[in-house]
């Protein structure tokens, strides 16, 4: 009985520890080796976010190489505009069209500042540099929207200071003043790990780098401006475009009236 109870207690304790001790964080985990870093952000249709930080050597890396290096499973199809993403991280479970007819993987890029930019070309034709990010979000085809902001790649671990060699005081008790007491050696601190801060599965946006982006639907499909700069940037861009379309419409109407008016006058003159 006691043995069973102790075994049960041990099991419960282990479950509790598992709950307390952070599991392998789902947030940014740095894959690969290199001095430059870029981030891959994948946001599923249900809002689940997966982020991967990829380290690479060289000045740049293609979007497809970055995705391949991230370790996230994906399927592609080569098309005239580059490689199209058909499936990422198991979503959709099955597909017959790429990109999908109703929902598809929208592809975005981020250059370290400002909002996400909707990519007009496939992932194989995009080049990213240190600090950039590429994002994939599974969205309805009629309303592409950017994924959540990328968390920064973890900083490389700080160099661990060499632990001080502990010196024992001289065993001779004769000259207490000459033997300088050295403090006991500090226990070596564990070097800070590369583990990034734990992020939830829904990846609350990092407050440090990029403020969260509002999710816009429809429109021009171009990423909205960050709310840190106010929705004013997004409002300004959309109002500018609306103003441009109004001017274009008025101009086209005026030109059409000019052409039609001249044609009518010429016909009357011929009669």
């Amino acid at each position: 009985m006691r043995l069973a109870a102790s075994i049960l207690a041990a099991m419960l304790a282990s479950l509790g520890l598992t709950a307390v001790v952070p599991a392998t964080p789902l947030g940014v985990a740095c894959a690969g080796a290199g001095s430059n870093h870029a981030t891959v952000v994948v946001e599923h249709g249900n809002g689940t976010v997966v982020q991967r930080c990829v380290a690479f050597d060289g000045e740049s890396i293609s979007g497809e190489q970055l995705l391949a290096s991230s370790g996230i499973e994906y399927q592609t199809q080569t098309q005239s505009l580059g490689v199209a993403i058909c499936q990422v991280d198991g979503e959709p479970a099955g597909y017959t069209e790429c990109p999908g007819r109703s929902d598809y993987w929208s592809f975005w890029t981020w250059t370290g500042r400002g909002p996400w930019t909707y990519s007009r070309v496939g992932v194989s034709l995009v080049t990213l540099h240190d600090g950039d990010a590429e994002g994939f979000r599974y969205v309805p085809s009629a309303s592409p929207a950017p994924p959540v902001s990328p968390d920064p790649c973890p900083a490389p671990p700080a160099p661990t200071p060499a632990p001080a060699t502990p010196t024992r005081p001289a065993p001779t008790p004769v000259a207490p003043t000459s033997a300088a007491k050295t403090p006991a050696a500090q226990p070596t601190r564990a070097a800070p790990t590369d583990a990034p801060p734990r992020t939830s599965a829904t990846a609350a946006p990092s407050p440090s780098v990029t403020p969260p982006l509002p999710r816009e639907s429809g429109g021009s499909g171009i990423a909205a401006a960050s709310p840190a700069s106010g929705g004013s940037a997004a409002t300004a861009s959309s109002s500018g475009s609306d103003g441009g379309l109004v001017v274009a419409g008025l101009g086209a109407g005026a030109l059409a009236a000019l052409v039609v008016g001249r044609a009518v006058r010429r016909r009357r003159a011929r009669r």
Binding site: S80, L81, P144, G221, G244, V247, A248, A252, A256, A269
Partner: protein
């Protein structure tokens, strides 16, 4: 109102073509096409018709649109499906491909209408005057050579009819020698005659001595300045962030427009406002 100088029309045409090439937005291309049509209509001499250029533009636009729809199988909104085993054209016919084809067609129409004034409004000698002095002899030689092409076609028809009347029948490739050889000999003879007549008129004998030099007036300067400004605005539109590239793939989106660029396209219609040919029969 004095007519605009030939070089003014040439500069305006180049500006309109440049704008239709520098932009991929169907909004701006449509405005350029309308502006060019207004200018063409305003300056078209009496007795000339827009039917030829209209048919050419319609044909080119239809071909571009159809080719894009048939060959571009990318896009989310599928309108129809052709069997996949059909070579090249097999696969989904998408709304995005149609939109892209429409934009290409608009660009072609805009470019055609932009160059139309050079053939419909200007006389051949005015076009030669518009060419820079260093290229004038070359332009004249090319123009004269192109005139021979139509003559070769007529000669071919005449020789073929004459041979048919003599009992000739086309039997295989070698039998056409009886038509081709006389046509070639006639073409050589015509070109020699043309060269002698041009030489007799002083071609390449020195600078032209008896022609009226065209001068730029206020209207010409205004049109030239406007055309230059429009080109500069569009050339700087992308670096300045005024123009957003429009691409219908993979999902069709509404093209955006900047007020300044839209105004620039409408400003290309300025020559239309400077014409006083209303009501000409």
């Amino acid at each position: 109102m004095r007519p605009l100088a030939p070089r003014t029309f040439l500069a305006w045409s180049l500006a309109a073509i440049a704008v239709s090439v520098l932009t991929d937005s169907p909004v701006y291309r449509a405005l350029v096409a309308l502006s060019a049509l207004a200018v063409l209509q305003a300056w078209l001499p009496s007795g000339r018709s827009l039917r030829g250029i209209g048919m050419a533009a319609a044909f080119a636009a239809s071909l571009a649109f159809a080719m894009n729809m048939a060959l571009g199988h990318t896009g989310v909104h599928v309108l129809a499906r052709l069997p996949s085993d059909w070579p090249v054209v097999g696969g989904p016919i998408t709304l995005e491909a149609a939109a892209f084809g429409g934009a290409v067609a608009l660009g072609l129409v805009a470019a055609l209408l932009a160059v139309a004034p050079l053939s419909l409004v200007l006389e051949p000698h005015e076009i030669v005057d518009a060419i820079p002095r260093q290229l004038q002899r070359t332009g004249i030689a090319v123009a004269a050579s192109l005139n021979l092409v139509g003559g070769i076609g007529r000669t071919f028809a005449e020789v073929r009819d004459a041979q048919l009347m003599r009992g000739w029948k086309p039997r295989g490739v070698r039998s056409w020698n009886e038509v081709v050889v006389p046509v070639v000999l006639t073409a050589i003879e015509d070109s020699v005659l043309l060269a002698e007549s041009m030489e007799a008129r002083g071609f390449a004998q020195g600078p032209r001595t008896s022609f009226a030099a065209t001068r730029f007036h206020g209207a010409d300067l205004l049109v030239l300045a406007t055309a230059a400004a429009v080109v500069v605005v569009f050339a700087l539109s992308r670096p300045l962030g005024l123009a957003t590239p429009w691409y219908p793939y993979p999902s069709l989106t509404m093209p955006s427009a900047h007020p300044l660029l839209a105004l620039a396209c409408v400003a290309l219609a300025l020559p239309a406002l400077l014409s006083d040919r209303d009501g000409e029969a």
